[in-house]
Amino acid sequence: MGVEGIGARVVRKEDKRFITGKGRYVDDIKLLGMTHAHFIRSPHAHAKVKGIDSSAALKMPGVVAVLTGQQLVDDKVGNLICGWAITSKDGSPMKMGAWPAMAPETVRFVGQAVAVVIADSKNLARDAAEAVVVDYEELPAVADMHAAIKAGAPQLHPEAPGNQVYDWVIGDEGAVSAAFSKAANVVKLDVTNNRLAPNAMEPRAAIADYDAAEEHFTLYTTSQNPHVARLVLSAFYNIAPEHKLRVIAPDVGGGFGSKIFIYPEEMVALWASKKVGRPVKWTGDRTEAFLTDAHGRDHVTHAEMAFDANNKIVGLKVKTYANFGAYMSLFSSSVPTYLYATLLSGQYNIPAIHAEVIGVYTNTTPVDAYRGAGRPEASYLIERLMETAARQLKVDPAALRRANFITQFPHQTPVIMAYDTGDFNASLDAAMKAIDYAGFAARKAQAKSQGKLRGIGVSCYIEACGIAPSKAVGSLGAGVGLWESAEVRVNPVGTIEILTGSHSHGQGHETTFCQLVADRLGVPISQVSIVHGDTDKVQFGMGTYGSRSAAVGLTAILKAMEKMESKARKIAAHALEASEADIVIENGEFKVTGTDKAIAFPMVALAAYTAHNLPDGMEPGLKESAFYDPSNFTFPAGTYICELEVDPGTGKTSFVNFVAADDFGRLINPMIVEGQVHGGLVQGIGQALLEHAIYDANGQPVTASFMDYAMPRADDVPSFNLSHTTTLCPGNPLGIKGCGEAGAIGASAAVINAITDAIGKNNLEMPATPDRVWRTINAA
């Protein structure tokens, strides 16, 4: 592997700028003549906008403009879109209510923008916003999903009667009914998957700059996928054609899904920069993030799992209500359908599965993909069901899982996915060994003698990553292909620039992507640069989400590298007067195998550009590109086991040990992979113990700052014990499965299974706060 090649724990190249304060985030950028935007947002969850009086604000010093939703309509700026078409079981298309970037007539959630003030400074814009009078006529609002689908509930969109987005099904209902009719035991469970706020530490921001002479826009924005942003802004919102719009996503301070989507603010900033003739900057504050960043999860599910007399699963039926909030965000429709129900087989052989998902509008912030996106909801449900079943059937939870594991691959589940490879026993074994599962009973008894309730919880997750084969997702309704692109540019002196459509916002691509190059050519990573996040530099790309950047993005780089190496080999063979087949690449040299003849890679590069002595007919230069479309999803899987203690007097949970055994296929940089797992685990633990985005019955958010929303802090979580088992992914040449979301997918079930084991009661909702745990312990 070499000291900097694949598998090496290389310290990150990008760190120097971050640890010295030299990172360059959107809000750090200043343009000449820049104005500042402040949005005027609805304080009501549902209201008619009767009028907006900005006359006083416009007279204030430094105020450049006050722009409203009606002006967006007048300028024919398009509404926000949802890019994945879902069809209901009756064959009807999903019911999408119109979502204008600023509401001209009706607001449907607290925080929805109705107008924007543009001023010379942020403070002047804020001051002027106070002077804008918006006349609202309040309407009845509904925040609870079950209330929203009841007859007589307030209606959000005329397009969606009964507030229903869709009623979608997957699987064979008849086969499931037949399985249940013959079942020896049926296990039933109701679970809520709590709504979360993603809370990347950098709030969203945008700077829009319109060049009137060139009729060209530049947008600096906090995006995980700048090319998709450009595509959507061009094709659907009529902002500018793609060749007249440059989108730059510089250093981005975390995403977790929330920076995939195209939001109203960047759209308005672009439009406003042309209207006012000056650059416009908007930087959200944390409360705006809580109000407007797409939230995650928010499912209510009833599920039943049927077992035969040998404790083998024979069927699973699931009914889920998924909260969409007030509008359909960019990929929202796919999250509780194709990213959720297709993973309901978990790690288990389940011959028959049927799931129904009802999407519901409520007067709350829109919900979309958040780290894991559908897969945490599926994994949580299955792993809570397995634990419940083990308790009901009075068998060891690990043994019940093992008895039902899929062991033959490839495995076609009844819900679309075809698992390519895995070894679920290996990861379960590794985790059980790491936590000394066999010794738990003695530890529990010891804890009891000290007045503590000790519990252990297992979670065996699987996810579908490497998103995604374009043809497959196209057939399921996706509006885009999900390939990735790469370009390898070798400079005349032999340094290398890798242009990628992936986007790093913490994942460390500037290091791991270089490691592939180092591995193949034997050049130091200091000779390689990664270029990303700018639509003027990288031709196209689909961005970073769904644990796709290594499995898809890095494979695209590999494909481009292979093309470049092929040409370089020809040049080297020509220079060395050898056969191309005899050329090997080692330690930065192209060598004739079995001889001492060699030419250094920089000399090959120079030869390509001087073009003095190239093979006949060869074009000068050394630059190749590739588009890579994966053939299948990848299937990272593993086992997490949590051991904890509950204080029965207070309901407080304390971690004793948390072990993770993951199978991500090949690891490029284990240090970075471990970091991804740590972060994911804490997001999963946060969901299990702390986090909940709460609305009151009228749709008022009650958790809209870090004072009210419990983010995991250092003393809420333990250090982790990680290990890896490996089955290489057969779907891509590097054998990579992806590691970005696993922790968030698998952790929450392990925690809740452990707490319910400790307290001896099975019904406990997330977040399992001390109050909730104490009440559950003491419930009659």
Binding site: A200, M201, D251
Partner: protein, 161 residues
């Protein structure tokens, strides 16, 4: 408007600001020291932590006027030329950062923690002391490792001085 005089990273500066201006905005907007970040506006996340007269403070929760006459050190001011501060080096070596947004505040808080506790740091203490700094990427595991590592390095470098 008032004139606020500060020493920032060893350099004397005077800025004319509105009375309501926060210290963080003086640093970011007037002095172009954009390493100090704003993450929450409510004094919870710690992305804005700097040192004022040797103590860690949240620069988003302090008026610039309150810092008049003070000696302020930001993330840009802790390395000695190309030589990283031991805490910076420890964050890099232990992979204690991912997106980098909380990192400057984490490092500034962590230096303060080590100073206040001398060499007497353990994992539980570090976790308690990091209460005022939120990270969404790392799960804290490697941040805690980095702080403990740096505490050792700082002891060694102090002993050498």
């Amino acid at each position: 408007m008032s004139t606020v005089k500060l020493t920032v990273n060893g350099k004397a500066v005077a800025v004319d600001v509105e009375d309501r201006t926060l210290l963080v905005h003086v640093l970011r907007d007037h002095l172009n020291l954009t390493g100090t970040h704003v993450g929450c506006d409510t004094s919870q996340c710690g992305a804005c932590v700097v040192h004022m007269d040797g103590r860690a403070v949240k620069s988003c929760t302090m008026l610039a006027g309150q810092a008049d006459g003070a000696n302020v050190t930001t993330i840009e001011g802790i390395a000695k030329g190309d030589e990283l501060h031991p805490m910076q080096a420890a964050f890099r070596d232990n992979h204690g950062l991912q997106c980098g947004y909380c990192t400057p505040g984490m490092i500034m808080s962590a230096i303060d923690i080590v100073h206040r506790h001398g060499g007497q740091l353990d994992e539980a203490t570090v976790r308690q002391e990091l209460e005022g700094n939120i990270c969404r990427c790392t799960g804290y595991h490697n941040i805690v490792k980095a702080v403990l590592d740096a505490a050792g390095r700082m002891k060694v470098s102090q002993a050498a001085e």
